[in-house]
Assembly symmetry: C2
Homo-oligomer: 265 residues x 2
């Protein structure tokens, strides 16, 4: 039943940085197939065994690929029945979340930025805690206005530890993407914790974003670490309402999002 594509063991994998790992290629292929509707809106996927044979890999590898899709909320999965297609793809991508520039470009908008201030000063207690520094260490503090196609949408306050800050400090003020430059200098961003809430605009926010003082802003705070677990930035972004929304998927299997009381720091 159903046209198997007999002589297509595996191959090409096209765009998206062709993940070298087999299971990534399988996952990418399945994601593609799902998003083009090959299995229908709420259709059922082939059995793991069938997929394994189709791709010429072991069932374990197929399961690894399916775990990726499940984590992305593309398919369900429960014992006893075939997997069911849940939704049609999601934008996802770690870098889109991390880098304003990357995110903007992926939407076809032109990102802009203006460095308002950059200074070096001793870290306070909270900053030492977040960036895991010894008391008295110096941090670099930046304040930037971010724009989409010229219109201001976000104010970004970032605190860098010394080893990252020195690199940021010597960057020209008109560099659009700090993240990309830092990557080229060996600073990698791999893990991030985000907290999202609402705050009111202070004087700086109002002046830069062109809103009233006290106007509501959507705030995203994040602490980012490199592969070794060392903090590389602690940032606070304040968005004008209506410009962004944050979106998450979670399931009983893989939950990453949580709701907190606002008693934090």
């Amino acid at each position: 039943m159903q046209q198997d594509e007999p002589g297509r063991p595996e191959e090409q994998a096209t765009a998206t940085e062709a993940g070298g790992a087999l299971y990534r290629r399988v996952a990418a292929d399945l994601r593609e197939a799902i998003s083009t509707g090959a299995y229908g809106e709420a259709g059922r996927l082939p059995a793991e065994g069938a997929l394994a044979e189709q791709y010429g890999v072991s069932r374990g590898t197929v399961r690894q690929a399916l775990a990726v899709l499940r984590a992305d909320g593309l398919v369900t999965s429960r014992r006893g029945t075939r997997r069911v297609v849940l939704g049609n793809a999601r934008v996802q991508s770690f870098s889109e979340l991390l880098s304003f520039t990357h995110w903007a470009r992926s939407m076809g908008e032109e990102p802009g930025g203006r460095l308002e201030s950059l200074l070096r000063r001793p870290a306070d207690a909270a900053e030492c805690e977040q960036l895991r520094l010894e008391p008295g260490a110096e941090v670099y503090v930046t304040l930037r206005l971010r724009t989409l196609s010229g219109a201001p949408v976000m104010v970004e306050r970032t605190i860098y530890p010394p080893h990252v800050g020195v690199l940021v400090a010597q960057l020209p003020a008109d560099v659009v993407s700090h993240t990309e430059h830092l990557r080229e200098h060996g600073i990698l961003f791999t893990d991030a914790d985000h907290t999202i809430d609402v705050v009111t605009a202070n004087g700086d926010d109002a002046r830069l974003l062109g809103c009233r003082r006290g106007a509501p802003l959507l705030r995203e705070r994040r602490r980012t670490t490199d592969p070794t677990g060392r903090p590389v930035e602690w940032s606070q972004d304040r968005y004008l309402p209506g410009t962004v929304a944050f979106s998450v998927h979670n399931s009983l299997a893989t939950s990453a999002l949580s709701r907190h009381a606002r008693a934090d720091d």
Copy 2:
């Protein structure tokens, strides 16, 4: 060694449904060990092989357990080096996100709720789309005020498809947790898509929450499905600022969060 608890195959295990699966128990044990600081703040975990021997399981099972911790942002993981402890535990838990009641209780607060209205009416186009219903199907619409220790914090507007709505409709108005009651009636919540942004309070919001009209509220919209992929609710929660914050972890490996332009529905 140390596989203690000989006569405790599985069971109750405190709140969080202690998964009977081996890898879940290993994950829970490691989570506990990490949060008590057994490996230090930024310390290194034992090698997979060592853990496997320690727990008397195969390395594959240990890897499965570690994948859970990695997804929760507790440890890093890269080829060549031991895993590094990232942060001290996180509240997580799917049900805390899903159920206001569950979340409140986990914080030691007393959740309350008052059903403001419940009506049945034909679904509009957007609702049919979200709940995957045929045009003209009837939906159940509820409006509830949610409180923490008596103080109003959130207004919840939920739209249920017929098969769930009929159950909700016959619930007493003073039932605190709809979710738990529905679970007892065989309605399971397993997957959810969330979108978080800022909106302004309308007349109903202002009256119920005791804020000004036009005051900013943190909005969470979610669509929840059961294990078969069938939508079971489409809800919109509006929180008073300062009462909650949403928190997410993501990494290059597992990304679930994304940032969108606010052009949606």
